[in-house]
Symmetry: none
Subunit: 208 residues, 4 copies
Amino acid sequence: MNFNNHHPSDSRKDKETVILDAACRVFREKGFHQARITDIAQTAGISYGLVYHYFKSKADLFDAILKEWWTGLFELMEKWDSEAASVEEQLAALVTYFLDQYQKKPDLVHIFITEISRSAANLTPTRLHWFKAFLSRTEKIMVVGQSREILRKDIKSRYLTYIFLGAIESFVSAMVLENQPLRSRAQKQRIAIGLLQVFMNGAKPINS
Amino acid sequence: MNFNNHHPSDSRKDKETVILDAACRVFREKGFHQARITDIAQTAGISYGLVYHYFKSKADLFDAILKEWWTGLFELMEKWDSEAASVEEQLAALVTYFLDQYQKKPDLVHIFITEISRSAANLTPTRLHWFKAFLSRTEKIMVVGQSREILRKDIKSRYLTYIFLGAIESFVSAMVLENQPLRSRAQKQRIAIGLLQVFMNGAKPINS
Amino acid sequence: MNFNNHHPSDSRKDKETVILDAACRVFREKGFHQARITDIAQTAGISYGLVYHYFKSKADLFDAILKEWWTGLFELMEKWDSEAASVEEQLAALVTYFLDQYQKKPDLVHIFITEISRSAANLTPTRLHWFKAFLSRTEKIMVVGQSREILRKDIKSRYLTYIFLGAIESFVSAMVLENQPLRSRAQKQRIAIGLLQVFMNGAKPINS
Amino acid sequence: MNFNNHHPSDSRKDKETVILDAACRVFREKGFHQARITDIAQTAGISYGLVYHYFKSKADLFDAILKEWWTGLFELMEKWDSEAASVEEQLAALVTYFLDQYQKKPDLVHIFITEISRSAANLTPTRLHWFKAFLSRTEKIMVVGQSREILRKDIKSRYLTYIFLGAIESFVSAMVLENQPLRSRAQKQRIAIGLLQVFMNGAKPINS
DNA sequence: TATGAATGAGCTTTCATTCAT
DNA sequence: AATGAATGAAAGCTCATTCAT
């Protein structure tokens, strides 16, 4: 068999992927506005114009990247509605998702944090929509946690959401900043557990 | 007496302040790269060219803003070296500084979070230097906390730093995002205490 | 018999015609410079690259269209040299040619008017050559008319040419602009006669 | 007196005029779409960016040019409503306006003819609006002429309009094409009278 | 001090043309 | 013959910075 011959339709997918990966890296390095199409094309090892053969604009390319991120995240969270996952399991799954993604695609996570999560005030309507949906879905977990008396009620559920996500983001940012790749599965475990413990302990009802 | 005639040097200070305030607002609204000198001049109610009379470049103007932030922060932290402040007092002071600043100059805090703290990978050498100094100084508090057995030792001091700062940032971000001004001193107190409790509880040694 | 199998050269002709027709329409709709090869290929229902299989460039394709126009026109006018056609007959034939062509290929006439006749200053040497030959040939008719005393001599023959062609063009332009197809043979007749009468009456020697 | 010192506000007007003149020339030479801002800037003897200091876009610059044309034309035609000008006087005034303008600003007339009058199918809504208003206003003259029995009634008033304007345009085009400047007032008179005679004679009722 | 005109490098996007399959 | 991916040269527009007044 000839493994070098892709199916024709694969070719498009392949190139798209090459461009998306390159874009991901460049967007992470420079941010959306400072990233130049030239950089992306060079990183992808293709010509300038080809980027526009596959994506209709820089914004379109950026959205394609974000879509990958959100799709994965919402798929994960939709499962929880059907399964009867506990609050801790859900939060653990969220932490794990961020760390997993960071291991596989650190650029993607970095883009989410810097370009979406922290600049939420300047988002386009579509991007803001996804982001708010994500916040709402996370807050729902906190509300359940409060009603089950495993999370303090004297802090608004929305604030708990911010603390939790902030901690995750900080960790990932830290690793990005210090260029610490997540080396082992064990290290990932340790971080996930530590993070979750700190949050659950910190946010548990005071006299429980 | 002629109240309109300031001392010459005051006049300079006044204009500088006007420009800095305007820049602060514009940088917050659009981010450094998207902010245009035109916007700043218009916001300040002065002419285009005058900005360049007081600041030699856009970057220079931005640095002047950051300097204000870092100066306040390092003044605060230098005191701790001479005084014998407890870990909790120091952390509380940090939280309070962020919240105070947010109350007085929300734009400044926003800029710190979005342009410095979260984009640390892209900072200029000078800016990165300040930022790392701040992280180190904060980590020192955590190390002391660990040696005094009030913070868990099984989480690296640097990680504790990230969790702590991440929580602060998340809170402030949340308020920025939701346009929540800090209305009362009481509200500020409540948030500061809540934040500190969550962290100290979460990070305290497990079998203590 | 197999009606699907053309002689090879027929097939080439067919495709060429399809492309030419499509190009004609697109050039008319957008003008030469704004017309894109993509548009032409899509209109022709063929692939992008195939256009370049049949025509070596966009300009080449455009020239092929013009050639069709000029060929018809010069064939008509060459006949007059051998036949002894009267001035009125020749002018009537010209009007009729424009109206006939407009009925059969309105796009072609439109292109002639907008891209050739009215932008003569920007024509390529080849295109300008055709155009000037046409003007000269028409002027010859006017000169004869003047020598036979059926056209005023106090207006330069070249000016008479412009007035005459201008009137034809205006009519056709009008129909193009108002999207008026030439519905009936009778309507065509009426317009042709009207046009000719206005010109001949207007241009006849004053005290004749 | 110092004639070199303009009033400050004149400076803006001056530069605007310089740019408009340059643009006029370039648009005439290359047409709107082929004209490059670089060309205009170079022709005007200024830097690239300055064009955008005075006009917000290429289209805006073009519209400013057209406005000059239409303003003059409509001012002329509005007068006729108040005065009791005869049909012939009005038509003569139109011819004269075109010839006058051609003498003063041949580029402007050329642009009107090639970019507006002959490409009417592709005009932007605003440009089409002006153009249609002009056609209507001219048609009104023809209608009056028909009711006063000095123009044939068996040709639609709209068609008379096209013949008339077509003749004017042809003349001007001819002069543009052959680079014939209108040298003397006498020559202008001769052309105007000739043109009008041809039209009035050609279009007069047949058995009058 | 203060103004805003002037400059030009830089970036996105388009599209004719080429080329591998 | 036929396809459409690939290339890269334009060209419009923006905006930091400079400069004359």
